[in-house]
Symmetry: C2
Subunit: 206 residues, 2 copies
């Protein structure tokens, strides 16, 4: 009967894997080797569901303004590395970007639960900052359609968000990548290496 | 014996509460009512252990640069609302701040695991951005001592970080607060209301 209790506990563990943890989603892909830099960066972006999007504040006269946002780089297991966003223009972030496109998007490995006992600031708990331009997508364009599918698949709640709150789709056009996933400072990684890295099941948007 | 299995499962649940989830720490304080704005903001900051610290990038010619960092606003249950940081000057964030102090610090409720089924971008899953000046503390000052205790208590790994990597203590001098914790846009909250709010067990640093 001891083994019955064990089986029960394993079931609880399994169930918690789906529901109990803060990351809120099931990790489907294993973590790449730390030296496979492009693979690691793409994994970090694809596995995460949210991050902090930074713009230059209009209201605070040029100060850097970070905001918690959800994002998606594609449907699960088919991420393309480019983060897409669904932002209301009632929010300062979208307003700021429409005036000054300079932006960065920061994501941590910590909420994925794969950092073991490492501190969130430890270099062994990866972090990535994609810098570039935050660009509004043309309504009803092919890319806006891609963004909608990518976002609504990973964030089903977005389908219900009020249309009268003016939610255009945005993307970050990446110009620079800063990633630390081990000791020794940021890893060398060009935007080209990052974007062209083919995940096993990757898809390219036209 | 069924009840033995149940007890076993509860033990597993209990254990996971400490170890299994991405937030990585035990929540000690209950979540305040959404309309208790200052209490909510102080809770959100005190319960979190990491966030994204934004500065104006030197290297990227004025772009906003977000970076994942650990922080502390005091020892557990004695937070004062001011985020303190332990940042190496080898990292762009500290370098940027030493040239231009304008900064913001963004924290999400999502990794605390208290958002239920809400999406990380949902207004019902709280987010706060503290904007102001990122200031280096004078070495061996009373405030640097407070920062060290606050940080090393919540982030014991920091004690072991290499001293030759030049880790001064910093704090964010808060000038503006942006918090959303429900529908209807950012909550009105002055810096004074935020800083003067007394948590049950709060302590004030001199």
């Amino acid at each position: 009967m001891e083994s019955k209790g064990f089986v029960y506990s394993v079931l609880v563990l399994f169930f918690l894997g789906f529901q109990g943890c803060a990351a809120g989603r099931l990790l489907t892909d294993p973590k790449p080797d730390k030296d496979a830099v492009a693979a690691y960066a793409r994994w970090l972006v694809s596995q995460n569901s949210w991050g902090v999007l930074n713009t230059i504040s209009i209201e605070l006269k040029g100060s850097p303004f970070g905001n918690v946002v959800s994002f998606s780089d594609g449907v699960p297991n088919k991420g393309i590395g480019v983060p897409y966003f669904y932002l209301t223009t009632l929010d300062p972030t979208a307003k700021n970007a429409l005036k000054d496109q300079r932006s960065s998007f920061t994501v941590s490995e910590y909420p994925l639960g794969t950092c073991g006992n490492a501190d969130p600031e430890s270099p062994t708990c990866a972090k990535i900052t994609l810098s570039g331009k935050l660009v509004q997508l043309e309504a009803n364009s092919k890319e806006a359609e891609f963004a909608q599918t990518a976002l609504f698949t990973k964030h089903p709640e977005m389908k219900e968000w009020p249309k009268n709150h003016d939610f255009p789709f945005f993307k970050l056009e990446i110009k620079d990548i800063f990633m630390i996933n081990w000791f020794g400072g940021p890893k060398p990684l060009t935007v080209d290496q990052y974007l062209k890295y083919k995940t096993n099941k990757s898809a390219i948007v036209n």
